[in-house]
C-alpha cells in the first residue's frame, strides 16, 4: 500500500514538473501566428484601416483582398463584427461612418461585375 502511495505521489510530481516546465520555464510563445487569431480589437482596427484606405482609393477589389487578410470569415462578416465592436467601444462617428461605407460597398460587391483592367 505504501508503495502504491509513493507511486501515485511521483506521478503527481511528474505532472507538476511537466506543467512547471510548460508554463514557467519554457512557456508557449506566440510566433508566426496568422491574422485569423488576432484579438477582436486588433481585427476591428484592421478593418478600420481598410475602410480608411477605401475612402481614398475607392478600389473595392483591393479592399476585398485586404479584408481577406483576416482569414476564414467572409469579408462582410469581418466588417460587421468590427462595426459591432466599434459601436460598443465608442469609436468616433467618423470612424464608424467609414466602416459603414465599407460595409455598404462590400454588400454590393459582385466579382462577376468587376471591371477588367489591362
Amino acid at each position: 500500500m505504501k508503495r502504491w502511495l509513493g507511486f501515485a505521489i511521483v506521478i503527481l510530481v511528474g505532472i507538476t514538473a511537466g506543467l512547471y516546465y510548460g508554463w514557467v520555464i519554457n512557456p508557449v510563445r506566440y510566433v508566426d501566428t496568422t491574422p485569423t487569431t488576432l484579438r477582436i480589437d486588433y481585427k476591428s482596427d484592421y478593418v478600420l484601416m481598410v475602410a480608411e484606405a477605401y475612402r481614398v482609393d475607392k478600389r473595392l477589389d483591393q479592399s476585398m483582398r485586404r479584408l481577406g487578410f483576416l482569414g476564414a470569415k467572409s469579408p462582410l462578416d469581418s466588417v460587421q463584427e468590427a462595426i459591432i465592436f466599434a459601436t460598443q467601444k465608442g469609436y468616433t462617428d467618423s470612424d464608424l461612418a467609414q466602416m459603414r461605407a465599407l460595409e455598404k460597398a462590400v454588400q454590393t460587391w459582385n466579382p462577376a461585375l468587376k471591371q477588367v483592367t489591362p
Binding site: 505532472i15 514538473a17 508566426d32 477582436i40 484606405a53 465608442g90 467618423s94 470612424d95
Partner: protein
C-alpha cells in the same frame, strides 16, 4: 537474513526505488498527452506582434495606407507599436526599399516611405500608463489605435481627435490601460507646382562608400528636406534601363535624401519629379586613396524649390 532488505509480504529481494522513476515518467507523459493531444494550444486573441513576418509587412502596409488617407500620425505610430519593431521608421524604410526592389507598386513604396519619413521627424508621443479605471475593475482589452482616437483624456467619446497641444496632462479614471497623448505633427511634402531645380552637382570621393552612388538631397523653398519625391533614372542609349527611387526612405541620412547604386561605365540621366529638368552625363568615375588604392566615387546632386 535481515527483513529490512525484503518486501514485507514477499521473499523477493528489493530492487530499489525504480518504481518512483517510472511513476515520474508516467506523470510527465500524462502531462504531455494532456497538453499536446487532449487540450493542445490554440492561438486565440493574439497581438499583431506575434504575426508572421509577411503578415507584419501587410499590417505595416495597411498602416501606411491608412496614414496616407487620414494623416493621423499618432494613430499610425500606435498601430506600428503593436508590431513590436525596434525602430518603426527604419523598418518601414527597409520595407519600402524592398517593395521597390521586388517591383511592387510605387504607390505602396511611396506611402511606406512617407510614413517612415513622418515618423523619423515627428516628436515621440508621451506614453501614459494607468493601472485601471479607478473603480477597481480590471480592463479586459487594452486600447487599440482606433480607440485611442475615439477618446480624449476626459474619457468621453469625441467625434474628432484633438491634436492641439495640452498644457498639462491629467489622468481621470478611465477604462483604458494605455493611451498616448497625441502631439501635433506635420508631414512635409513637396510644394505642388514649382519643379525642383538643381542647385549643386558634386563628385564625391568617399572610400567608406562601398558602391558608386547617385545621391540626391531635396529641399523645399524654406530649406526643409522633402520626403516622398520621386527621382527617375534612365541609362544611356546603349544600355537602356529605367528605374525610380524616392527621398525619405533612409531617414537616418535625412528626410530629403535618396540614393541609387550606379553601375560603372554606364551613363545615367536623372529627372526629379514630374517635369523636372533632366540631369545628364552622370557616370561613375574612379577615385584614389593616398595609398594609390582605386575605388568608385559618387555623385551628390542637391535640388531645391524656388
Amino acid at each position: 537474513m535481515s527483513r529490512a532488505y525484503r518486501y514485507p509480504d514477499s521473499d523477493t529481494p528489493k530492487r530499489g526505488p525504480w518504481y518512483l522513476l517510472t511513476g515520474f515518467i508516467l506523470g510527465a507523459l500524462m502531462g504531455l498527452v494532456y497538453a499536446w493531444v487532449i487540450s493542445p494550444v490554440e492561438y486565440v486573441d493574439t497581438p499583431p506582434a506575434s504575426l508572421r513576418a509577411d503578415f507584419k509587412d501587410h499590417y505595416r502596409m495597411m498602416t501606411a495606407l491608412a496614414y496616407a488617407a487620414d494623416k493621423d500620425l499618432p494613430r499610425a505610430r500606435a498601430r506600428l507599436a503593436l508590431l513590436g519593431d525596434e525602430d518603426s521608421a527604419q523598418t518601414l524604410a527597409i520595407q519600402a526599399q524592398r517593395a521597390l526592389a521586388e517591383g511592387s507598386s510605387q504607390t505602396e513604396a511611396q506611402v511606406l516611405g512617407l510614413l517612415a519619413a513622418a515618423l523619423g521627424q515627428a516628436p515621440t508621443p508621451v506614453p501614459v500608463t494607468t493601472s485601471g479605471n479607478g473603480t477597481g475593475q480590471a480592463n479586459q482589452l487594452p486600447m487599440t489605435p482606433a480607440a485611442i482616437k475615439t477618446r480624449d483624456v476626459s474619457g468621453e467619446a469625441t467625434p474628432e481627435l484633438a491634436v492641439t497641444p495640452r498644457p498639462e496632462i491629467t489622468i481621470p479614471p478611465m477604462a483604458e490601460q494605455v493611451t498616448f497623448i497625441p502631439l501635433p505633427s506635420r508631414t512635409p511634402t513637396a510644394t505642388p507646382g514649382a519643379p525642383f531645380m538643381l542647385q549643386s552637382r558634386q563628385f564625391i570621393c568617399d572610400p567608406t562608400l562601398k558602391l558608386s552612388l547617385l545621391q540626391i538631397q531635396v529641399f523645399d523653398a524654406s530649406g526643409q528636406p522633402v520626403p516622398g519625391v520621386q527621382a527617375m533614372v534612365t541609362c544611356s542609349a546603349m544600355e537602356k534601363c529605367q528605374d525610380s527611387f524616392f527621398t525619405g526612405l533612409k531617414p537616418e541620412l535625412g528626410l530629403g535624401y535618396a540614393d541609387f547604386s550606379m553601375t560603372p561605365e554606364i551613363t545615367y540621366t536623372l529627372r526629379l519629379g514630374e517635369g523636372g529638368q533632366p540631369i545628364s552625363d552622370l557616370t561613375p568615375a574612379e577615385c584614389q586613396t593616398s595609398r594609390a588604392e582605386r575605388y568608385w566615387g559618387s555623385w551628390l546632386l542637391t535640388f531645391n524649390q524656388p
